[in-house]
């Protein structure tokens, strides 16, 4: 895109600035629209699993429900509690929302179609996702209210716990792909696994000899994907790990004192984070913008379509879990993170690196 603006006779720096801003808008606007629609989808899926109809009044099939909600929230009054720390109280939702958008800068939508193609892309994602906790913690503290404060303490412990195992899981992926660059990680998954590699005779057999795009079919990385999916739910504080806003214990957790647009920013940021986790699942384990199978005819479909399909698939799993699994108890959550996920992911770092030492990097 920089080259296009340079072609219009602009200097390189100006062209770069304009093209970057265009890129940001190109990602942020569809993302916001996607978040609005995904909230609707979440409610519909949840309703269907509870044998209800869900939103069906505003617009055809209730499709405009999210926009109606947005408008309603926009017209409401922002209430700031008298005892709240006013500056921080208002900054907190902005932090959550901004951080939820920032990580999308490194997600590749197609070969080379990425806003910031940086070498340390995955580390960047990890760094940004670790910032997400601040919005919650600051909200909890600045509200100067008991339930939000409990929620903030829960959130900081929960996110730090699960970040550790997510780090180890990502190390397994990075070891296998040999790079931190997300676009290169996707490329490394092209034809990553096939029975034909073990049994050459199968190479031309239809189904059995097909090459699969994605680390998920790798026996050493499949358990890592399952753990990443669960850790992702804990990291985004989705049900069954939504202890930070457990309505039966903490009213609404850190959002208790928030109203109108500030509340909506949490709402949007949360769903943008969930979509990001779905996109990471797709990118790191399911081949990102690659088609599921390494067959030439599938490459005729644009990469972004495959990526969106995968994101929607994972979002369905997230909704499904939310609708069916009861909420964890806090000690169960901590036990799962520290006593199960951490040792198992550490074991798999050993297994993966050992396997690679014996095969790919064998001297």
């Amino acid at each position: 895109m920089t080259a296009f603006f340079q072609g219009l006779g602009l200097s390189y720096e100006l062209a770069w600035t304009i093209s970057t801003i265009c890129g940001i808008l190109l990602i942020a606007f569809p993302l916001m629209l996607g978040v609005a629609m995904i909230i609707y989808a979440d409610r519909k899926i949840w309703a269907a699993m509870a044998l209800r109809k869900g939103p069906n009044v505003v617009g055809p099939l209730g499709l405009l429900q999210s926009f109606a909600d947005g408008l309603k929230v926009f017209l409401q009054e922002t209430i700031i509690p008298a005892a709240a720390n006013k500056g921080l109280f208002l900054i907190a939702p902005i932090i959550t929302f901004t951080v939820a958008l920032m990580a999308w800068a490194v997600i590749p939508f197609n070969s080379g179609a990425v806003l910031a193609d940086i070498n340390v892309g995955l580390l960047y994602v990890l760094a940004i996702s670790s910032l997400g906790v601040y919005g919650v913690v600051i909200a909890g503290w600045s509200s100067n209210s008991k339930y939000p404060f409990f929620s903030a303490m829960r959130a900081s412990a929960q996110m730090i716990s699960y970040e550790v195992s997510i780090g180890f899981i990502l190390i397994c992926v990075v070891l296998w792909a040999g790079t931190f660059n997300l676009n290169d990680i996707v490329k490394a998954q092209k034809g990553a696994i096939s029975l034909a590699y073990a049994i050459p005779a199968l190479a031309d057999v239809p189904v059995l000899g097909w090459k699969i795009n994605g680390f998920v079919a790798n026996p050493l990385l499949f358990p890592m994907w399952v753990m990443f999916l669960i850790s992702g739910m804990a990291e985004t504080a989705r049900a069954p790990f939504d202890l930070t806003e457990a309505e039966s214990e903490l009213v609404a957790g850190y959002q208790t004192e928030y109203s109108s647009m500030a509340f909506a920013l949490y709402w949007l940021g949360e769903y943008a984070n969930v979509l990001l986790m779905c996109a990471l699942n797709a990118t790191l384990f399911w081949g990102g913008w690659l088609p599921p199978l390494d067959i030439p005819v599938l490459y005729l479909v644009p990469g972004i379509v495959w990526l969106l399909l995968k994101i929607l698939f994972f979002f369905f799993i997230f909704s499904w879990v939310k609708a069916t699994v009861p909420r964890y108890r806090y000690d169960q959550l901590m036990r799962l993170g520290w006593k199960i996920f951490l040792p198992v992911s550490l074991l798999f770092v050993f297994l993966v690196s050992g396997w690679l030492m014996l095969t790919r990097y064998a001297v």
Partner: protein, 205 residues
């Protein structure tokens, strides 16, 4: 132009937030300004081409250390009057520390202007290895030349971690823990009984 703008933005923000960290009355505000300073330092690292270090700074300091810091500071019950009362008593010590820091800074600047110190290079020119990304270059050095130091650092951290656990862990009597596998293994048959008592008679369980 963009680089210069970004540098002055990051550097200015860092200096400002560093100063406010010290000046802020509220310790929670101090920690938040400190986090902003970390963040801007990471931005400066990116400008210097050290993106790996920058990301590590954000992940380790902003993502983990500062969260715990904030966690602790948020729960402190601070009496500001008491803090101000101790000011005169601690003033000489504070001035001493400030003087030492200033002298060190001054010596550093003087030495720097006499010619910079290049570590690990006899010739004094440390050119980055060509064709290597940041991560690869660090890895190539850490796992070959500095392998011993790297592993020693790891062992020290491990010992520190175990030490912290040993020092703070204490067995308390009378605590009822939960046996999760026992809870999970429990079936409805052993947890519930179905009785049909006659009308007017109670049930003994």
């Amino acid at each position: 132009m963009i680089q210069a703008f970004a540098f002055y933005l990051f550097a200015g923000m860092m200096l400002f937030s560093g100063a406010v960290t010290i000046l802020a009355r509220n310790p929670v505000h101090s920690v938040l300004w400190l986090i902003l300073a970390f963040f801007n330092a990471a931005g400066l690292m990116v400008l210097a081409g050290a993106e790996f270090i920058a990301m590590l700074l954000v992940i380790v300091y902003v993502g983990a250390v500062a969260v715990l810091f904030l966690f602790v500071v948020m729960m402190l019950d601070i009496d500001f009057a008491e803090l101000r009362a101790g000011f005169i008593k601690n003033f000489p010590l504070g001035m001493l520390l400030a003087a030492v820091l200033f002298v060190e800074l001054f010596v550093g600047i003087v030495v720097r202007s006499a010619g910079s110190l290049q570590l690990s290079h006899a010739s004094g020119t440390a050119a980055p290895a060509a064709g290597l990304t940041n991560t690869q270059a660090i890895g190539a050095l850490l796992y070959s030349k500095y392998l011993f130091l790297f592993e020693a650092a790891g062992i020290i951290l491990l010992v520190a971690m175990i030490g912290a656990i040993v020092l703070t862990h204490r067995q308390r009597g009378g605590v009822r823990g939960q046996n999760v596998s026992k809870q999970v293994a429990r079936r409805p048959e052993e947890a519930t009984i179905n009785v049909q008592p006659e009308v007017g008679k109670g049930v003994s369980l």
